[in-house]
């Protein structure tokens, strides 16, 4: 699909600055999406904030793709409020060593977003001032949104799943 001109400009500027560190560029539903790597992510985010005017961090979250080589994707959504453009950045990290530098040096608002991602997926943000669980209890022990954990307690004997169409 042809990129829109604005997205094309942004794509060009990013590849000028970061070269092959910006890959897998696509534009699902008009939203420019690309993949980058954890060693440059903070530079990419600061470049987008300072030079390309993406001054607003909309959200940080993660997605778990079990079985894939780098199975956890940390997803950043940014917003350029002046020119009304959004952008999505993905960084794939491995499940065995899920670390990534923190974005709190770029935006303070990343603080709780990263804590939520840590709590639910186990992604450790290096350099985060206060990385601890936020939604679940401190001694939960697992990171529940990972796909290997079932939704409901499998040891429950009083509820038969086949009657519920699941």
């Amino acid at each position: 699909m042809e990129e829109t001109t604005l997205n094309n400009d942004i794509h060009t500027k990013l590849t000028e600055k970061f070269g092959e560190k910006v890959t897998a560029v696509s534009e699902p539903y008009g939203l420019l999406t690309f993949v980058t790597y954890k060693d440059v992510i903070v530079n990419v985010l600061s470049h987008l904030k300072d030079e390309l005017k993406f001054n607003f961090l909309t959200d940080i979250t993660a997605v778990h793709y079990p079985g894939q080589d780098h199975g956890i994707a940390v997803v950043y959504h940014l917003n350029n409020m002046v020119e009304r453009v959004r952008i999505r950045i993905k960084v794939f990290i491995s499940e065995q060593n899920p670390t990534i530098p923190t974005a709190t040096t770029v935006w303070k608002g990343a603080n709780w977003m990263e804590r939520e991602t840590y709590d639910l997926f186990g992604v450790k943000f290096e350099g985060h001032p206060d990385l601890r669980r936020i939604l679940n209890m401190d001694d939960l022990g697992v990171h529940p949104m990972l796909k290997q954990y079932p939704l409901e307690d499998p040891n429950r004997v009083d509820k038969k799943d086949e009657f519920f169409g699941r």
Binding site: Y29, R132, P144
Partner: protein
């Protein structure tokens, strides 16, 4: 035992700081969230927020539910304005499926969303009043939330957690009683809102308690990813309805009130003016409905919109669609989509990743209350306790949206 606890107190018996647990159950916090504050007399020295008391694992549940079964989950996010959450979710799925809505459906959705925005702002403004001591305004204006509930009940059958609308439109057309109730609301509410303003807006005591308190600069608000009335009170004119119009908002003529200093008085005024603008939008929508073809209340989406019952009993094709939809056997395309709507508290975003199955692969809610609330603890350092309480009420933190 996890030793990663924050330090709540300095455990020094000679310390002059008092540790106050503004605990999860407290009459002044509107929802279940906790703040452990260290006080020096009346002044807050530091605070630690704890949330997650109402975390209900919506994102995990959504991975196991077909699309129409996720709507009741979205109800329970910002439960004070649940139609906005429902409409936002439906629009996300419609964006995924590339469905165009008829204009009449868009206008009906706008009416419902603006009514729920008014309901949400009624809560916030009256609660700011109540927390400063003015209980009368709360009682007078809450009557109109009842009227809004009755309108929702007429359309979808439920008052608070509405599950209103379907992927593709509405489940039934608005009947004459619903329009009569909307028109009655449009006549009576402005009178009551004017009365409410007369009691609070120029009230010496209210201004003393709220003006100049908890000021926030534009840069700080953008740093902390604030959206909604809080950001607009700080001076940034960002509203998703104007920046990324959805549901035909571009056809409407309305203004976005923007404040200057971001203090609590500005937030109150921004929400108050937004209620007037919402009334204006509803009036325009009712006029526009007159020019649209009557009786159109849904788009043609046979794969996701239940066919009418008469057809199901008589027509084989409708029977098959009904069966497939209810048993959740219909697959949606493999894609990822992010859609945002302007909720009562700010930009409510839905990040949906679908892998071609009947349930989402990943659904993430970008919740404005959660993101707005992280600034509360840093902001309250140095504030008086009573100011911090009103600051919390003016941020309109709804616990359901905070924790999801």
């Amino acid at each position: 035992m996890n030793h990663n606890h924050p330090v709540y107190t300095d455990n020094d018996p000679q310390s002059e700081l008092v540790t106050l647990n503004l605990g999860p159950t407290h009459p002044a916090t509107h929802g279940v969230f906790q703040n452990v504050l260290q006080l020096d007399g009346e002044r807050i020295v530091s605070g630690v927020s704890t949330i997650g008391y109402i975390h209900r694992a919506f994102e995990k549940i959504a991975e196991h539910r077909p699309f129409y079964q996720i709507t009741p989950l979205t109800d329970r996010l910002n439960y004070c304005s649940s139609p906005i959450n429902n409409m936002g979710w439906h629009m996300t799925v419609e964006k995924l499926l590339n469905i165009q809505m008829p204009k009449r459906v868009d206008y009906l959705r706008v009416i419902i969303m603006e009514l729920s925005r008014i309901a949400d702002h009624i809560i916030c403004n009256t609660i700011i009043g109540q927390d400063t001591g003015a209980t009368t305004t709360f009682l007078y204006l809450f009557q109109f939330r009842e009227h809004i509930y009755e309108i929702f009940e007429e359309v979808c059958g439920a008052r608070l957690t509405t599950n209103i609308g379907r992927i593709g439109g509405f489940e039934r057309d608005f009947n004459d009683i619903a329009f009569a109730k909307i028109n009655k609301f449009l006549k009576e509410f402005p009178v009551a809102l004017k009365e409410f303003e007369n009691l609070l807006t120029r009230n010496r005591i209210f201004i003393d308690r709220t003006a100049g308190v908890a000021e926030v600069t534009k840069e700080a608000a953008l740093e902390y990813s604030w959206t909604g009335p809080l950001l607009r009170a700080a001076g940034v004119d960002y509203d998703v309805r104007v920046a990324d119009p959805y549901s035909s908002y571009q056809d409407f003529d309305f203004e976005i009130p923007v404040g200057t200093s971001g203090d609590i008085y500005d937030r109150y005024l921004v929400r108050d003016e937004e209620m007037w603008q919402s009334l204006r939008i509803i009036e325009q929508a009712l006029l526009k409905l007159k020019t649209e073809e009557k009786g159109v209340f849904h788009a043609d989406v046979p794969d996701f919109y239940l066919p009418p019952k008469q057809e199901v009993y008589n027509n084989m094709e409708a029977l098959i669609y009904h069966f497939k939809i209810v048993m959740g056997e219909i697959d949606a395309p493999k894609a990822e989509v992010y859609h945002a709507v302007e909720g009562g508290n700010g930009e409510l975003g839905f990040y949906l990743i679908n892998d071609g199955g009947r349930t989402p692969y990943r659904l993430h809610f970008r919740r404005p209350s959660f993101i707005n609330y992280q600034m509360f603890a840093p902001m309250s350092e140095g504030m008086l306790l009573s100011d911090a309480i009103i600051n919390m009420s003016s941020m309109n933190i709804i616990a359901g949206e905070l924790d999801a």
